[in-house]
Amino acid sequence: MNEDLKARYDFASWGQDRQAAHVLLRGYKPWREDALDWRPEARHQLPEPDQRRLRRSFWSPPEDPERLVLIEVRETPSSSAAMACLLDVLGQNDHVRLPGGPAEIGDVCFIHPDEETPGVFWTTGNECVSLLSLGGKPAPVLEWAQRLHARMSTRPHVTEHALTIEPPRGLLAPGERSQVIVAWPSIETEEGFYQVFSDEAELSLEDDQIRILTPSSGPVAVEAFVVEPNRPTIAGLFESTVS
């Protein structure tokens, strides 16, 4: 990775005081209700290097083609990979260094300078997101970014756990990665996605399977959700002890 770029963005300080590693998403796509009810004109998906999956979508309001927003969501295996991905994204920007963005957006966030088209670049858990106002008229991308980040990072409230989470084989040990297998149901709507939270364990993806790493002994809980617009959230809970 470009050391000069790292230094310019003070990469070593990213995510130090955040809980980025405790959120994991799979298949996240922006929801229409988070995008001012603008219309998704096109959605595309393609693989990228470093086990990233890129999902791009173009959005515009009805009857106004001069307003256009591009949302790029790069799904990576972990929060640290997402931050490395964000650095790559920033490195593909002509500007030497973008200003920092609002603290309430993402684990780490940067924005386009005022004289530029509005743009926000951030990470939430293992997702690296770019939100660009691409059209001839500016779009309120900061407002969108707040909504998108909130959707990605908010743990849903549920009253029951019907989703099966298969516990790791063997005992959980501090500092060791273990696999938990979630019996994910298929997603019924195009905007549905999977969320995993753990207050104690660091979460990552390996071969599309969830890995947990708990740095110290003690209780650990992993909660998984299937989140879809206008449908009940399905949840599962795994609890154990690291010893």
């Binding site: 096109a42 959605r43 791009r56 593909q92 920007n93 088209t117 195009e190």
Partner: protein, 386 residues
């Protein structure tokens, strides 16, 4: 403004007088199909890329459907023309004289026999060819080869033309056997990377041939593509890469042009477009970056040279341009995302916009850079298209 779509426009060729034909009796067969791409024909394979119309999203996260559609597309079916069914385009090098194959369909029982078959129309039509036609159970003849009477033009283009076919039987009188419509693209040379691993896209050819219409040299093509991009009324500059950097999302670029409405892109996107479209027509350009530079004032994309505010200066993380044949301090460059100020006096108000086309890199650096080494990368690329 919308870019034209294939088939709506194009240069019509060969509106010639039809030969006198005997109206009293029809021939017992007609043209069924015309084929341009077969071994030895010199035709360049083409495809309809995916996402010329965006595919609907998949319901399933694990589904490969979207991915397939992104990297897939449909190759042009062979034969390209079938009467009443389809008329697909073909591509050839300039000044070649394509050979085509035609298949004829029996219309009545006495069709078998000796005929002299030809056509008038675009590019002088087809040279007459004597043939003995037999019609098996399928009622379709074996393919018969014909040569175009004249070579294709000597410049880049997209040409629509018709062929009015006639056949002469034993009485020597020409009788019509059908009229066929075709589209042909002419390229300077066979497509160069990234088109060595990807079949050339028809929509990309439409755009490239529109911008470079009539160009007869590779320099002229590269310049025309650079100017075409720079002068496009929908394009504006911003700092972020819009069409990715590990690949070039040409499909998204084409889609946005078709969609209409202004959109923003950066230098990487511009360099990708120039290299990808110019190389499609046979040029040999590379994408390559320079690093560490603060610019002099330059005229931004879509800027008005007479408006002082449109002359801007940036401190750039990098800048990406198209390079002729390779990246290096002695190479020439094409930069479609700006005009440099050819007036080297920064103190006066005189500004002379100049689009960098085949500009030696040292001159380009002098005109663009106010501060910084502007060091070229050692890793030129031609990004794959998707």
């Amino acid at each position: 403004m919308r870019r034209r779509r294939g088939g709506e426009e194009g240069m019509s060729v060969g509106n010639v007088d039809r030969p006198e034909v005997d109206p009293r009796s029809a021939m017992p067969f007609e043209v069924y199909s015309v084929e341009f791409s077969f071994p030895g024909s010199g035709a360049i394979p083409l495809k309809h890329h995916a996402l010329s119309a965006p595919t609907p999203p998949s319901n399933s996260y694990e589904s490969g459907g979207l991915l397939t559609s992104f990297l897939g597309g449909t190759t042009v079916p062979i034969p390209e023309y079938i009467t009443g069914v389809r008329s697909e385009p073909a591509a050839f090098l300039i000044v070649t004289r394509p050979r085509i194959r035609a298949v004829f369909r029996k219309l009545s029982a006495d069709a078998e026999g000796s005929y002299t078959i030809g056509a008038v129309g675009g590019f002088g039509g087809l040279l007459e060819n004597p043939a003995y036609l037999q019609f098996p159970v399928s009622e379709l003849s074996e393919p018969i080869e014909f040569d175009l009477a004249q070579p294709l033009p000597s410049g880049i283009g997209r040409f629509e033309f018709a062929l009015d076919w006639t056949a002469r039987g034993s009485d020597g009188l020409p009788r019509p056997i059908g009229s066929t419509q075709h589209t042909v693209y002419t390229l300077l040379d066979r497509p160069v990377a990234p088109w060595d691993v990807e079949t050339p896209w028809i929509a990309a050819l439409d755009l490239a041939c529109e911008w470079a219409a009539g160009a007869m040299t590779k320099d002229a093509v590269a310049e025309a593509i650079t100017r075409g991009l720079n002068s496009h009324p929908l394009l504006r500059y911003h700092g972020a890469t819009t069409f990715d950097w590990s690949v070039y999302l040409l499909s998204n670029f084409l889609w946005l042009l078709d969609r209409g409405g202004v959109f923003h892109l950066n230098c990487t996107d511009c360099a990708n477009a120039v290299v990808t479209l110019a190389n499609l027509l046979g040029c040999n350009l590379y994408e390559g970056r320079v690093f560490d530079l603060t610019t002099r004032r330059f005229l931004k994309l879509a800027g008005n040279a007479g408006v002082d505010a449109d002359w801007v200066s940036y401190e750039w993380n990098y800048h990406e341009i198209a390079w002729l044949e390779g990246v290096g301090p002695k190479s020439c460059v094409y930069d479609s995302c700006l005009h440099v100020d050819a007036d080297v006096n920064d103190e006066d108000l005189l500004r002379v916009p100049r689009l960098p086309v085949r500009m030696p890199f040292p001159e380009y650096r002098d005109l663009l850079v106010a501060k910084g080494p502007c060091a070229p990368t050692r890793a030129p690329t031609r990004r794959p298209v998707a």
